[in-house]
């Protein structure tokens, strides 16, 4: 792959938000590939790195809002791990692969779309900067 966004979506928040976006026919670009996880806290640096190894243009981790994680600490851990992954990438000279963690509620399809647009913008900017 080379233009896809790999999005790890928590089944309590982002996954249903993405479903809702579809139900409401809110359209977004086709380059999104969602991988469903039980909690954003399931995702670690290795998944993010491997996604980039396979050619992902950007990686997203999406979880519940602060204080609303069904598993209490999953979303905060995910946030730390995403920051850690950014550092790991920077360490090896890679600073043009956007990765981000965002929080949303299951009934926020518009926020879901905004996040996607933001990532696509970052992809464009980082590719133009090369």
């Amino acid at each position: 792959m080379n233009k896809e966004i790999v999005a790890f979506c928590c089944e309590h928040s982002a996954y249903p938000a993405a479903d809702l976006a579809g139900k409401q026919r809110l359209c977004y670009p086709q380059n999104l590939r969602i991988i469903r996880v039980p909690c954003a806290g399931r995702i670690d640096a290795i998944h993010i790195l491997k996604a980039f190894e396979k050619g992902a243009a950007a990686v997203l981790v999406l979880g519940c809002e602060d204080g609303a994680c069904h598993h209490i600490t999953g979303n905060t851990r995910a946030k730390e791990r995403v920051k850690y992954s950014e550092m790991l990438l920077k360490e090896v000279g890679i600073d043009n692969r956007p990765v981000g963690m965002f929080n949303l509620a299951p009934n926020e399809p518009h926020k879901f779309i905004r996040v996607l647009n933001e990532m696509n913008k970052r992809i464009k900017e980082s590719r133009e900067a090369k």
Binding site: H12, Y15, V37, C69, T73
Partner: protein, 543 residues
């Protein structure tokens, strides 16, 4: 041996319009291990399910991918079809080609749909079976607390056949019942009498919980009475440890004394058969330091009414808002005003001082727009609701978080109100938040239903070892035990030597935080293992 994967593609009653299904079927049929591809338009309905079942049997399909709507909707239905065909329900994966593909994009989405199916096929190749297991649970309930919610739930547990132990720190039951019984026509003594007479309820007073080990269905609780400590076993624990009220002296620069008293003191004075001298004027004040004033409003309105009726004093209430969002309180407010109680609403903090042995209150009435000075014989000071004294210690003991105000876990929208992050441990009543009586009643009903569902069958069906620690790889670093938000992992000794981590099937809530953090990669989360996640990534763009 190559596994046989069957792919079922549904057009969801024709609502998927931008996929070329024939082209998709052709491409999918070429994927290795896919032995048959089937098109349908109503896979989740009776006829569709029957067809699916017969296909699985006829073609000897071993694993099933369904490409259709979101798994959030019908995953469980399709798993049942697999089980009906004699397959393990976990040999199943869905590709969301509707909500997250067809409906979300303009134009033809056949390419993406095929890729989503490939992702599901890649994942399904690596899935392992997960068996269901029945675990027996202890049907006894421990209720910690002695106030209205504790007593009420104990009585209801007994009524539905669950043996209950009611454990109270103080020497007597009752909690705040005696303070509020007048407001709600309750009779404390008859309620306490009812629990004392109930054969299904064991009462332990002057007793404390000092340790809780174990998990849902099987808690070992260390109980201390005086110098003696004993261990008891329960299936579920309900904490109803209540709240306390605190007067914030710093807001008044004056101490509680003869002329500035608490609501509790006022209630005592009103209940006394006679009083030294009836105050001619009484002021109430709240909303100065804490705007969570639902319960202070209730206490003020109820006490103000009683005061008027019993002493006939002049009564003034200083507040920002009269919080009437509880059942019946609008009516109470009108009644209180009809009795001549005067309300003064302020925005800036009033100044309170002593003058000639009386209390002087200076405030700007926002309705009048003027400064008002009133001198009262008695001022009933603002009360803040705070968690009961032992709440913090208890939350550490239980490894359960408290919210930003120190109450138990009321702010997380994903946890049902009376549940906590530890399965089998519940919180009801004032220890959760500043609940009024009606809301406390709802808490009691909720927890009774919840515990009944949990314990009454005497056993629970769980997925066995869905998240599992590999004992050979476990390095006993204690990381998973420390991070599990549901306290579901414990150390166990194996072969009389090594201690390793073990995950309880009952208490595990399947988040995967442990699997992500284990530095030895010793924890396998079936369905979401590293390999199963990476396999999906590998299918992207691989055409």
């Amino acid at each position: 041996m190559e596994t046989k994967i069957g792919v079922f593609i549904c057009n969801c009653g024709g609502s998927i319009k931008n996929i070329n299904f024939d082209a998709a079927r052709e491409k999918v049929a070429k994927i290795p291990s896919v032995t048959c591809v089937n098109l349908s338009s109503n896979l989740c309905l009776g006829e569709g399910k029957e067809k699916m079942l017969s296909y699985i049997k006829e073609e000897n399909i071993e694993r099933v991918v369904v490409a259709a709507c979101s798994p959030e909707l019908k995953e469980h239905i399709f798993r049942q079809v697999l089980e009906g065909a004699g397959l393990n329900g976990h040999f199943f994966s869905m590709a969301n080609i509707r909500e997250q593909c067809s409906w979300a994009h303009e134009g033809d989405v056949t390419v993406k749909a095929v890729e989503l199916i490939k992702m599901a096929v890649n994942r399904i190749r690596l899935l392992q079976p997960v068996e269901k297991k029945e675990l027996s649970v202890n049907k006894e309930v421990l209720v910690v607390g002695g106030g209205f919610p504790a007593i009420s739930s104990a009585l209801q547990f007994s009524r539905i056949g669950l043996r209950t132990t009611l454990l109270e720190k103080k020497p007597n039951l009752g909690g705040k019942l005696r303070e509020i019984e007048g407001f709600y026509s309750l009779e404390t003594s008859s309620m306490i009498g009812a629990v004392e007479e109930d054969e299904n309820i064991e009462i332990l007073t002057s007793t404390e919980v000092v340790g809780v080990e174990g998990k849902i269905g099987d808690f070992t609780v260390r109980i201390r009475k005086g110098a003696e400590e004993i261990l008891r076993n329960f299936g579920a624990i309900v904490f109803a440890t209540g709240y306390e009220t605190e007067v914030s002296p710093q807001d008044f620069q004056l101490k509680l004394g003869i002329n500035i008293i608490s609501q509790e003191r006022l209630a005592q004075m009103l209940q006394a058969s006679s009083v030294e001298r009836k105050p001619e004027s009484v002021g109430f004040i709240y909303d100065v330091s804490d705007e969570n004033s639902r319960l202070p409003t209730l206490a003020t309105l109820n006490n103000a009414l009683t005061l008027k009726e019993r002493w006939g004093s002049e009564v003034y209430v200083f507040c920002k808002n009269v919080k009437v969002d509880s059942e019946g309180v609008e009516k109470l407010y009108r009644e209180v005003r009809e009795h001549g109680v005067m309300f003064l609403k302020f925005d800036e903090k009033p100044r309170i001082s002593a003058e000639d042995g009386r209390v002087k209150i200076e405030a700007k009435d926002i309705l009048l727009g003027e400064d008002v000075t009133l001198t009262c014989d008695l001022l009933v000071a603002e009360e803040k609701l705070v968690p009961a004294e032992e709440t913090e210690a208890l939350s550490t003991l239980l490894n359960i978080r408290t919210d930003s105000r120190g109450f138990y876990q009321d702010e997380n929208v994903h946890l049902y109100p009376v549940s906590s992050e530890r399965g089998g441990i519940f919180f009801i009543g004032g220890c959760r938040s500043d609940l009024d009586f009606q809301r406390a009643l709802v808490d009691v009903s909720s927890v009774v239903m919840g515990v009944y569902k949990l314990l009454s069958p005497g056993k629970i069906l769980v997925e066995a070892e869905r998240v599992k620690v590999d004992r050979q790889k476990c390095r006993t670093c204690l990381t998973c035990i420390r991070v599990c938000p549901h306290s579901a992992i414990q150390l166990v000794r194996v072969d009389n030597e090594k201690e390793v981590a073990e995950i309880s099937d009952l208490a595990c809530d399947g988040c995967g935080i442990c699997a992500a953090i284990c530095p030895a990669k010793a924890i396998n989360f079936e369905g979401y293992s590293d390999e199963q996640i990476v396999a999906q990534i590998e299918a992207i763009g691989a055409s």
